[in-house]
């Protein structure tokens, strides 16, 4: 096919435009990363970076990783992500499977009940009081139990299950397979892409969740990493790290600490990103089009 000059011009402009857009999307995080490994004095002068300034300085990371408060909050976060996601996946999968059986009595009604919760909610205070009555306040479980099933994720899985050909299930039934076995041994192996996608959605959700921590937890020993990070740069107080100052061989500043903490709070997500990528676009296509 012949491409006219206006077509070529369009492609060039379009391509350049999107190269800029992609750069804009990526640069802010890159900047923080570069700042966190740069020489703190040079980094503190301000300006845009593409590469680390001065000698690479990992002192800020060393400080951050060895600071008890941050280390502890990392463990808390890992607990919430691990246990939370496991519970999420178990409950979401069985609920989604059940809801995919439209012909069973009451299923459509329950589906509507759940859809309704996506539109209307009790609100921050009544939910807080309910969480309180469940005695979850000040416990890490308050970051897990009130979020056991996220309706959007469940509907994505449900739609996926709906797409599995009935003949497979029927064949299994005739062979005398019980529903739990059908689900776990037949349907799930077929749904790996969807399952991985939803697992990642939940994991990222828990990793980034700081609102539940702020609302329901007072004990700073139980704070989650994101909340500690936020308190760190909003209050600007890095003095809790000064007691380790004598041990450092290299230079660090409050700013470089903040940058390192930002990176530490987001590096796991970045590492998981290639996996997210691999399964993700499929996930969105399934979820949004059927939405």
């Amino acid at each position: 096919m012949k491409t006219s000059t206006s077509d070529k011009l369009f492609s060039i402009i379009n391509g350049t435009f999107f190269a800029c857009i992609a750069l804009l999307a990526f640069y802010p995080l890159w900047h923080v990363f570069m700042a966190s490994i740069s020489d703190p004095l040079l980094a503190g002068e301000g300006g845009f970076f593409l590469f680390p300034r001065g000698k690479i300085n990992l002192e800020a990371y060393r400080k951050v990783i060895t600071t008890a408060q941050i280390f502890r909050s990392y463990l808390n976060t890992l607990f919430v992500v691990g246990v939370g996601t496991a519970l999420n996946m178990f409950l979401t999968t069985i609920t989604a499977y059940a809801l995919s059986k439209n012909h069973v009595k009451g299923i459509t009604f329950i589906t509507l009940l759940i859809v309704f919760t996506m539109i209307f909610r009790g609100g921050m205070i009544p939910t807080f009081l309910v969480v309180r009555s469940a005695r979850l306040l000040n416990s890490l479980w308050a970051m897990i139990i009130p979020f056991l099933i996220i309706p959007f994720n469940m509907f994505v899985l449900r739609n996926f299950f709906l797409a599995v050909p009935k003949s497979i299930e029927e064949a299994a039934e005739i062979d005398g397979c019980s529903p739990p076995r059908i689900l776990f041994q037949i349907i799930l192996p077929l749904s790996v892409a969807a399952l991985v996608t939803i697992t990642l959605f939940y994991a990222v959700y828990h990793w980034n969740n700081f609102r539940a921590c702020m609302l329901y937890i007072n004990d700073d020993m139980k704070y989650v990493l994101q909340l500690v990070l936020r308190n760190l740069y909003l209050e600007g107080d890095t003095s809790f790290m000064d007691d380790l100052a004598q041990e450092s061989t290299e230079m660090f500043t409050p700013e470089s600490i903040k940058m390192a903490t930002v990176m530490v709070a987001t590096i796991p997500i970045m590492l998981a990103y290639p996996f997210i990528q691999k399964y993700f676009v499929k996930g969105i296509v399934i979820g949004s089009l059927k939405g």
Partner: protein, 312 residues
């Protein structure tokens, strides 16, 4: 002989069906309990907006006070400020944030070099996975007038540095821009996925008829994703008042409270931190009702204008 066999078969089919259904209900039970306890029970708890809730009496025994809290609300100047801020901020986000991904997806779809297209896609939705506290940290790194990226820009332009993060004039802008940055990639990909469902023959026919790229975008791509656009717009309008809590709590400082206090942050401050439960539930209820009105209104509007787009 034959009749007995039929009954036998019918019974065992019935038994199998019941057993199979039994499992479906068992699977549903925990999820249903979760939704009832953590979603419907709080909806019931909303009625404390009409009571003077105190923690000792609980939901049921707290005394009924009717519209007292709503009257307080209407006389509270802080409430109106919060209402105004919420509407303005959400409105700005909608106006600037909604069209952009649509436009981007239409043009991104035109990129022919697949490797480039995929790389762009991968890069633009990274911000979606970044939490607001991290974005807050990034914002400080970029916008701090002394040591941030922007400090270099001020020096270069020889302009006195402004701290965008604590200025009342610019803070709402920062909220909009950061929200845009975080969400445009994900939304663009959603529309891009919708674009892939358009029949390629339409494009071929148009090309044969001599339609250039821009014409093809306007006459085929854009109408092709309208249903998705409308549905997403409706959903956005419905949840519009909910957005911003995480963001504002991550970028907040007292100097900008006046322009950035929204319903949810206000509810947090005087509800959770000051225990004024009933009053803030009234505020929350007010907000939910407005949200409901918005989504019902938008749905009816969409039904009149564009039938296939409405949710109900």
């Amino acid at each position: 002989m034959q009749i007995i066999n039929m009954n036998h078969i019918r019974l065992s089919i019935a038994k199998k069906t019941f057993l199979k259904n039994k499992w479906i209900y068992i699977f549903l039970a925990p999820g249903l309990c979760y939704f009832i306890f953590f979603h419907y029970f709080p909806m019931y708890g909303l009625h404390i907006a009409f009571k003077d809730y105190n923690v000792l009496s609980g939901f049921i025994k707290s005394p009924w006070v009717g519209l007292k809290h709503f009257r307080t609300l209407l006389n509270d100047p802080m409430f109106f400020r919060v209402f105004r801020n919420t509407l303005i901020i959400c409105f700005y986000k909608l106006i600037f944030g909604f069209p952009l991904p649509i436009v981007l997806s239409l043009f991104l779809n035109e990129i022919r070099v697949l490797a480039f297209k995929r790389s762009v896609q991968s890069l633009i939705y990274i911000p979606h996975f970044i939490s607001w506290p991290v974005i807050g940290g990034i914002a400080y790194a970029l916008l701090s007038p002394q040591w941030g990226a922007i400090a270099g820009l001020f020096k270069f332009l020889n302009v006195p540095p402004i701290n965008l993060l604590i200025s009342k004039e610019y803070f709402r802008g920062i909220l909009v821009v950061t929200t845009l940055w975080k969400t445009f990639g994900w939304n663009t990909i959603v529309y891009l996925a919708a674009l892939t469902t358009i029949d390629p023959q339409l494009y071929e026919a148009a090309m044969i008829d001599g339609a250039g790229r821009l014409k093809r975008i306007w006459h085929i791509s854009f109408p092709g994703i309208m249903p998705v656009v409308v549905i997403l717009l409706l959903l956005r309008v419905g949840t519009i008042l909910d957005t911003g809590f995480d963001q504002i709590m991550s970028l907040y400082n007292p100097l900008v409270a006046e322009v950035s206090e929204i319903f949810d942050t206000y509810t947090y401050k005087i509800g959770i931190l000051q225990w004024r439960f009933s009053y803030t539930t009234a505020v929350g209820l007010f907000k939910s009702v407005i949200g409901l009105v918005l989504i019902v209104g938008a749905n009816s509007l969409s039904r009149k204008v564009y039938k296939e787009g409405a949710i109900w």
